[in-house]
Amino acid sequence: MEAATMSRDKKARSEQSAQAATRKTASSLFGTDRSSDVPDSTVGVITHDDPVFTCRSVDVFYANKQAIFGVDLDIGRHEVISMIGPSGCGKSTFLRCLNRMNDTIAIARVTGRIELDGQDILDSRIDVVPLRARVGMVFQKPNPFPKSIYENVAYGPRIHGLARDRVELDEIVHTSLERAGLLKEVKDRMDQPGTGLSGGQQQRLCIARAIAVSPEVILMDEPCSALDPIATARIEDLIDELKENYTICIVTHSMQQAARVSQRTAYFHLGYLVEVDETDKIFTNPSHKLTEDYITGRFG
């Protein structure tokens, strides 16, 4: 059954990301029932005083397979929250619910309630265009457009009509590059293709591209997993600076990274949100055994 679904998916390019997502979750997740280890409700503190996102009983299905089971989580304003967990635990899938990127996967279905400043974004009447302008995203692999560095950053402001003239656009592009810590390196070659930059620079270009539309939230899906340690350190510094103005949700496989950059950490396991708490607490004194096993490296 699983194999059949997969091979059928392979035929359609439009389902590529679905495939990737299914593959990620398929091995560990599909067909499993609620494991006895998983707590009945999330351990720790799921709420936040000043939430941007309020997620309640979020379920995600790929075709008939459930990938996320009743996740309840608040994401606070101007906090960095990291999502950790073994491969296929649904953390990326959950992240992609927050700007409805799962819409691009034909077989994905999201139920439950995700409120962005009190408005349910899962409502089918919600237009994803302004939503995604408010909730930007940075991907695992740097994916600059095959355009110039300038055009890469200017693309978002252009489609949302954020700049009235060239001067304003220049201003936005420069500020965004500056904030992404890339301006110094590229200011003399803004008209060269963004694909010609190094991997770390490309990723910072993608961050600049995301912040150019002045989002409130930036979702980062393993933003450093394709980068070397130096580029990773730069991105982490950048996250630290960005949290002054933005809410950042970061999915990461590196627990050190989660510990370094985030204030809160959410631990996912087999599609369940097991524990969420202050990062210090998660890493020094986790409440749930699964969390402890994971952060001490006993499994995952």
Binding site: K11, S14, N99, T104, A133, G136
Partner: protein, 462 residues
Amino acid sequence: MTASTLLLFVALLSAAGFLLGRKRAFGIADAHGGVKSLHSLPGHYGLYTAIWVAVPALLLLIVWQSLEPAILSELVSRELPAEIQELPPERVGLIMNDVKNLVAGNFVSSAVSPEISEAAEHWLSLETTFRWIRTLLVAGLTGLGFLFAWRLIRPELRARNRIERVVRVALVACSTIAIFTTVGIVLSVLFESIRFFQYVPVTEFLFGLEWSPQTAIREDQVGGSGAFGAVPLFAGTLLIAGIAMLVAAPIGLMTAIYLSEYAPRAVRSVAKPLLEILAGIPTVVYGFFAALVVAPEIRGFGESLGLSVASESALAAGLVMGVMIIPFVSSLSDDVINAVPQAMRDGAYALGATKSETTRQVIFPAALPGIVGGLLLAVSRAIGETMIVVMAAGLSANLTANPLEAVTTVTVQIVTLLVGDQEFDSPKTLAAFALGLVLFVATLILNVIALTVVRKYREQYE
């Protein structure tokens, strides 16, 4: 033994060589402590033996076959009676031709003289001897090759590397065949064209405004003096190709975009094969469709508007040709668009771009080099297309930009010039080669531009 039996014989021996060589390798391996003690796999040693059996013998056979007729002819002509040998070389050549025809059992031009039949017998006896020598040599070479390889099989023989070298040479040889064919065709067209340009100046051909290739072949024939200005043909070709591209480029591109970005999987799985069927329709069918359906329709429609439309119009041919190239454009573009990584789409969607914005501003520019390449290939196809134009566009070489008039194209004129009786020293026939050369150069330039565009603007996504 004939050459083909000999070939079969060599192949069989080579197969036997493979088996024996492998067996010997296994034997040696056992003596040295297992297959691991050999440098290569036993099958490699077998193949190595097979190559040594077959390749030298085959090379000899090839050289022999190419030299034999010349040597035989030389030997026989030396034996001809003295009075024939004293004749001028062309006469001797004619006589030798008769001899060869007689040997082959063909019709001989005049009554067979005793000298000729004697020479033919001489030829036959020589040929028999030659065959024997050939068989012996080939058999000997296979044997020698086998012994050589057999003695070489040792654990340290690097059989795999040597086989791979042979394979590489074979690959190079295969690829040169295509190249040499191209060069050969180009050269033959070029030389015939040069002959044509001895009758008609290049400038007149390239810039002349009148095309009327019918010339009198003999003194007593009635015929035009001939005019070989090819500009009307170029204009006609460009006009029809232009109309075709006006149809095919937008429709093909839109189709590709719909199929790759918007179509649900079910639609795509039906529509794509259907489009490819369109590509499989023979052009001659398109041709009579154009001539019998489209052209009269256009004429009727034009007349209802008060326009004068020729019954064979450039518009009809161009429209139908455009339909013909649609699958060409759409299928190439569809592939290119599909090759744009999903990460590009995700990046644009995550910025809040709509599907249409993503397609127009991100996917399309990313795919553009490939699309331009595809379009240029389609143009070459349109320029080279013959059948539709022959049937629907007519033969009259009008110099006009009006798509409602009859025009003719380079390919059509080549066809008409070479159909029927012709002689290869009249400018009428040779003109076909000159036209062919122009056509070739034009498509070559288009292809070079297409490749350069694709290479220059290709983006490295990863």
